[in-house]
Symmetry: C2
Subunit: 404 residues, 2 copies
């Protein structure tokens, strides 16, 4: 098989897997199935019939397809993804799939198979409860963000690391779809006619636009830490016991709050979606209470572990000034709340939606869910700069829920 | 002559100059003199005896010497310097020396000779007046900062440009000497025993440290625009009619206010130095009034032209939201004032001082100048986040001057 880039066939994927030492026995009979959605990547699932051992091979395609549109996309994202996975794996060994091999020519990453996990978004739609999730993801966020920032790593090495994760094409997707298109009548937008009144109100809300402009500017300039860059519940594999963060192809140096906000936004999108998924008011209230408790738990774990890392592993003398840690953490909280709001709004009126809301069959319930998600998102964006505690988020969510 | 890196002799410099087409006639008799201080670079001044035509060849040395200390320093800074000069030259053709050639192997830049100009710091010490300076440098700052930022250039190209200007070693010098060492008893510090009381007060002033920590953090993370990175009056060649910015080897993507603040700080350091240079109170007041008027003129020209560029050449849709320009400019002003303060403090108690104060012979006058510079610097740092206008700077300067 030539190593010049070309999309692999299932047979070529098997042949490639056999070249990796210690993965499969030489005589192993391997089955291969391509299980990706074909929008951005090929995903090969390769299984050894006798041992049952399996791996995943993910190959980047030279284009992106979103909702029928297709545009060229750099293969360098495969390098960024595999390097980010390996770095995250060093910092949080149990919270990302292990990487067995990265093949630059083929834009191919060979990694641990997580088929015993499910995509968290599906789990939430099925109204499952993950008692360990907040602790796991809070730990992941604290360690990956602190230890790649100027607080936790050598500041000259950080600059070189930042250079390796310059990621213009993937950042552009975020800049357009999250921080611009939802706020005017962009051709990429996609929303139900039922909520056009609310969408048009957003297009003309210049107080909201001012806050989004600030958050967009932070995304463009604030090189605080190496982000996952796309940390929604579709980028998380989960079981009751285990959490695995996948797909960091949007990784770049940006504001810490963008990653934390992504997690919180996606929990709250499911919260809104419970208009359609919960069988009755009581179970809706119950599941929502768990979601809100999880939002709080994500932030509280992040904050506790981030502060502990600061107290134990700070490399920056000036940042040890009494009071600076509080100022810093408060700013991360504010960013988190603002970015969470942006990520909610765009999932209702922008190009890419979430199944938590879009797959609701009942039109009235779906509309209620969309309006609730927009109301929470807008309120988070408008409030973000004056937030003082994670309580502000639960208060806003409860207020907007009660108001409907 | 081999092109493998080695420090050139004057004869080799002449031989190299002859290889550049259209610079000198083939039969020209060339004289060469090495005129650098030997701390960071060799600087060859090459003249054609008959035509009088001359050029400068600047070659980076693989080390830095500051006050007797010597440490290795990357030759890549020659590339950064020549690329920054060429970029600045495109944006402000009359405000930087023209670059004729860059030779990467030799870390060598061949450029316009500016011997008819003098170093601005010398001009200020001689109490000369430059009526066009504020307009020139304000124009330079507005264009170089706006047009390299996410406001004025394609945001994906900006990321790639930022990657080319990752500059860890030179940034480290700034991070240490400006944003850390002056605030504790660091071995690099250097100050007169006469002001030890004031220095120790700075070391224990944790309110001051908090503000410096914020500004340091901005320097480390806020990739707003391509900075010159070392824009003091020793990096400016000047005549009454002409201003030329040189030596951008510290260029990197950072906060706009750092460059503007550098210019203002160095005008104010000379203001403080007038304790020693002005022959009498009246002429001191007069020259200081010109310096303050120039500080104001630098900011006002910057602001006027920056806003004009914004109104005419903005590439960022969300930033066009009414009100965002005011928010942005106010933040740049605040950063400018904070960074100006940091740059004043470090020039009195840190490793590298300025001749405007250090060369004052009269010990009492020198001490007054040092105390005044520190008082202004501290006040600017502490006030920076609440500043609303450039008037705040003149008010602080006049208050601290009157208080002594």
């Amino acid at each position: 098989m030539t190593k010049q880039y070309h999309p692999l066939t299932e047979q070529e994927a098997i042949a490639y897997a056999r070249t990796i030492p210690d993965l499969f026995a030489p005589q192993a009979e391997l089955d291969c199935r391509e299980i990706g959605d074909g929008n951005l990547n090929l995903v090969f699932h390769i299984t050894d019939r006798s041992s049952g051992r399996s791996i995943i091979m993910k190959q980047a395609l030279p284009y992106a397809k979103v909702v029928g549109e297709s545009w060229p996309l750099t293969l360098d994202r495969a390098r960024i993804e595999s390097e980010a996975l390996q770095l995250e794996g060093k910092l949080c060994p149990n919270l990302v799939p292990r990487v067995y091999r990265y093949e630059p020519e083929l834009a191919l990453t060979v990694m641990e198979d997580l088929s015993d996990h499910i995509i968290m978004r599906r789990g939430l739609i099925e109204r499952r409860v993950y008692p360990l999730f907040a602790g796991h993801i809070g730990h992941f966020l604290a360690r990956t963000l602190f230890l790649t920032s100027d607080l936790g790593m050598n500041q000259q090495e950080k600059k070189l690391q930042q250079k390796r994760f310059v990621n213009p094409e993937l950042c552009k997707i975020t800049e357009d779809l999250i921080f611009a298109d939802p706020y005017y009548d962009a051709p990429t937008n996609s929303f139900d006619e039922a909520i056009r009144d609310e969408v048009e109100a957003i297009w003309s809300d210049s107080d909201l636009h001012l806050e989004v402009a600030r958050l967009r500017h932070g995304f463009l300039t604030n090189a605080q830490a190496l982000l996952h860059g796309d940390l929604h519940t579709g980028s998380i594999f989960i079981t009751e016991q285990s959490t695995k963060v996948i797909d960091p192809e949007f990784a770049y140096y940006g504001p810490m709050g963008f990653d934390i906000g992504a997690v919180i936004a996606n929990l709250l999108l499911n919260y809104a979606g419970q208009e359609g998924w919960s069988p009755d008011a009581e179970s809706r209230a119950q599941y929502r209470a768990w979601l809100l408790q999880t939002v709080r738990g994500v932030w509280e774990t992040f904050e506790r572990e981030f502060r502990a890392l600061w107290n134990e592993q700070l490399v920056d003398r000036m940042s040890a000034t009494p009071g600076f840690q509080d100022i810093y953490v408060e700013q991360v909280l504010r960013d988190t709340i603002g970015y969470a709001g942006c990520k909610m709004v765009r999932r209702v009126i922008g190009l890419a939606h979430v199944a938590d809301i879009d797959r609701i069959d009942d039109a009235a319930a779906k509309e209620r869910a969309q309006r609730l998600a927009l109301a929470i998102g807008k309120a988070l964006i408008k409030h973000h700069r004056s937030a003082a505690s994670i309580d502000d988020v639960t208060r806003i969510v409860e207020r907007e829920t009660a108001a409907r």
